[in-house]
């Protein structure tokens, strides 16, 4: 019941952000110079920021960036995990040991250190569109390690299972074995990892954004919208500044609710 509600909520928010072009009263960069820092009104539902930009529009566009690109990055990292973990677990032996060693190394690197270091290696002063590609591309390429362990273990147990033994005894070739028999067994684990990665990437992008290493201005994302919270003196008198945070927390919680059995990869 709670899961159905959570899923419904995610769908509503997702669709609203997809239709940002239609639903937003203004573009994310349009500045209403005569109304900086305005409180909420019928025209600007969440007021305007210090450059006079409509906050509600920026929230819609920001949601579109964060909520829709995180799953894309999650898909990419899951595919990488499937390839690395799945093949390693299936082949076993030295290959599996080496792959898991690399994965463990990757996992030992504190997540944000890795992201910050890789981000810094790429040019910092780039256009907003490129910064979006860099941010989510990084997550997609670097986020596979956690999932890879789980996928490798699943692949290994599938390989050792009786029905694979049966297939082998019937003379099925290894590649076909992998594609037709192992991969379908990995799908539940892969789907779970995909779903777990989405909130992780949303939070990572938010952290990078607040640190100034995420999506570049004027393109909004949840991370950059949260930067407004750094203004401590203002948040007391302007509680509507919390709306992006509340939305983020609600969305991430919904993702966690829909898949409640998630545990840390050990």
């Amino acid at each position: 019941m709670a899961r159905a509600l959570a899923l419904a909520f995610l769908l509503v928010i997702g669709s609203a952000s997809l239709l940002a072009n239609l639903l937003a009263p203004a573009t994310y960069a349009e500045q209403f110079r005569e109304l900086p820092n305005a409180p909420p009104s019928s025209r600007h539902w969440l007021g305007t920021d210090d450059l006079g930009r409509d906050r509600f529009s920026r929230l819609l566009y920001g949601t579109r960036v964060s909520l829709l690109l995180a799953p894309v990055a999650a898909l990419s990292s899951t595919i990488l995990a499937a390839l690395i973990g799945g093949v390693a677990g299936y082949l076993g032996g030295r290959i599996e040991t080496a792959a898991m060693w690399i994965t463990d190394l990757f996992l030992s690197l504190p997540w944000l250190f890795l992201l910050v270091a890789v981000r810094a290696l790429l040019p910092l002063n780039v256009s907003p569109q490129v910064s979006v590609i860099i941010t989510f591309g990084m997550l997609g390429v670097l986020g596979w390690a956690g999932a890879a362990r789980v996928v490798c273990a699943t692949s290994r147990s599938a390989r050792d299972s009786d029905f694979i033994l049966l297939a082998r005894a019937s003379g099925v070739k290894p590649a076909r074995l992998f594609a037709r028999h192992i991969v379908p067994n990995l799908t539940p684990a892969l789907f779970a990892q995909f779903w777990i990665s989405i909130p992780v990437f949303i939070l990572a992008e938010a952290n990078l954004g607040v640190l100034g290493l995420g999506v570049a201005e004027p393109l909004p994302s949840w991370g950059s919208l949260l930067r407004e919270l750094e203004n401590y003196s203002a948040i007391g008198s302007q509680p509507w500044l919390f709306v992006p945070l509340l939305l983020l927390v609600a969305v991430v919680s919904c993702f966690q609710l829909v898949l409640p059995k998630a545990e840390l990869p050990a």
Binding site: S108, R119, L203, V210, L211, G212, L257, L264, A266
Partner: protein, 304 residues
């Protein structure tokens, strides 16, 4: 006396040698990882866009002679072997590069800032574990559903808040940054150990223990904890990594002169070698923590 020692610990000598062998193997792995990681990072730096532009050249205070030397240095760096060689030589001498953003050698900065970070992580891990494990234990042992609901709700909410925002909250409240790390680390410790303890409680030997009429405390300490021990220790290693990760937003936003802030400023200022070296050093520390917990876990599981 010696005989008695051997009666109590019959395989002490072989066990000791075993542990030493294991330890030395891990140490070799650590050094190799550090070196490889450093080389890999240095490679990435070498091929990073913007490497051939040295911002120092733009400094008007430098004489034309110094600028010429800088340019010569960079041309020498074009030779990969020379670049690697210089990098390793620097490492051996303990030269971690120069931070332009903070205008000091990285080694000095690292030495200054490490104690700050370690203290903050220490507080964070201590309170995070106390709170997380304590809550998990109460929830599993007491088995009252209101408490379970409340604890799970708080944990899930905290997990949904970005670390940076939690850091901001602590700046706003003017509370110690170590506690921010505790709150970041706590929910993961809570949910993992709660699931672990629940699973351990449902094991057959715990039922046997209960059927013998043992007290709850004894069942918990002697039958549930030992079987959860190794995995909890593995979690300890992971929590160290999580705590280090959290230092970047926490120190950056709370303005703490620690390693996390150093990494952040090196990133913004593109002091890439410094950033790479700091990352490698932190990784080595995390690996060391993981290895220690692994070794402890193994000796526990063996019934030592």
């Amino acid at each position: 006396m010696h005989r008695r020692f051997h009666a109590v610990f019959p395989d002490a000598e072989t066990k000791g040698a075993h542990v030493l062998k294991r330890l030395s193997r891990h140490l070799v792995k650590l050094v190799a990882t550090g070196l490889l990681g450093g080389l890999l990072g240095a490679t990435l730096v070498r091929f990073a866009p913007g490497f051939d532009v040295d911002v120092r050249e733009l400094d008007p205070r430098l004489s034309s002679q110094s600028v010429k030397e800088l340019r010569q240095q960079r041309r020498a760096d074009d030779n990969l072997a020379y670049f690697y060689g210089r990098y390793i030589l620097n490492l051996v001498h303990g030269d971690l590069g120069f931070s332009h953003s903070l205008n000091q050698p990285a080694r000095k900065l690292f030495a200054q800032r490490l104690p700050v970070t370690l203290r903050e992580i220490g507080i964070g891990l201590l309170f995070g574990w106390l709170l997380g494990l304590g809550l998990a234990t109460s929830v599993v042992v007491l088995r009252t559903w209101p408490m379970d609901l409340l604890a799970s709700g708080v944990s899930a909410t905290l997990l949904s808040i970005p670390a940076a925002v939690l850091a901001l909250t602590f700046v706003f409240l003017r509370a110690p940054a170590g506690l921010a790390i505790a709150l970041i680390v706590m929910p993961k410790i809570f949910s993992y150990s709660r699931n672990l303890l629940r699973r351990s409680y449902s094991l057959a030997h715990v039922l046997t223990a209960r059927s013998k009429g043992l007290s709850e405390v004894r069942v918990f300490l002697w039958h549930v904890v030992p079987t959860s021990g190794p995995q909890l220790l593995a979690l300890l290693g992971i929590s160290v990594s999580l705590a280090f990760s959290a230092t970047i937003p926490v120190e950056a936003l709370c303005d703490l002169p620690g390693i996390g802030q150093l990494a952040w400023q090196a990133a913004l200022g593109r002091d890439l070698i410094v950033l790479v070296n700091v990352t490698v050093l932190i990784t080595l520390m995390t690996i060391a923590a993981n290895t220690t917990s692994d070794l402890l876990g193994h000796s526990l599981a063996r019934g030592g």
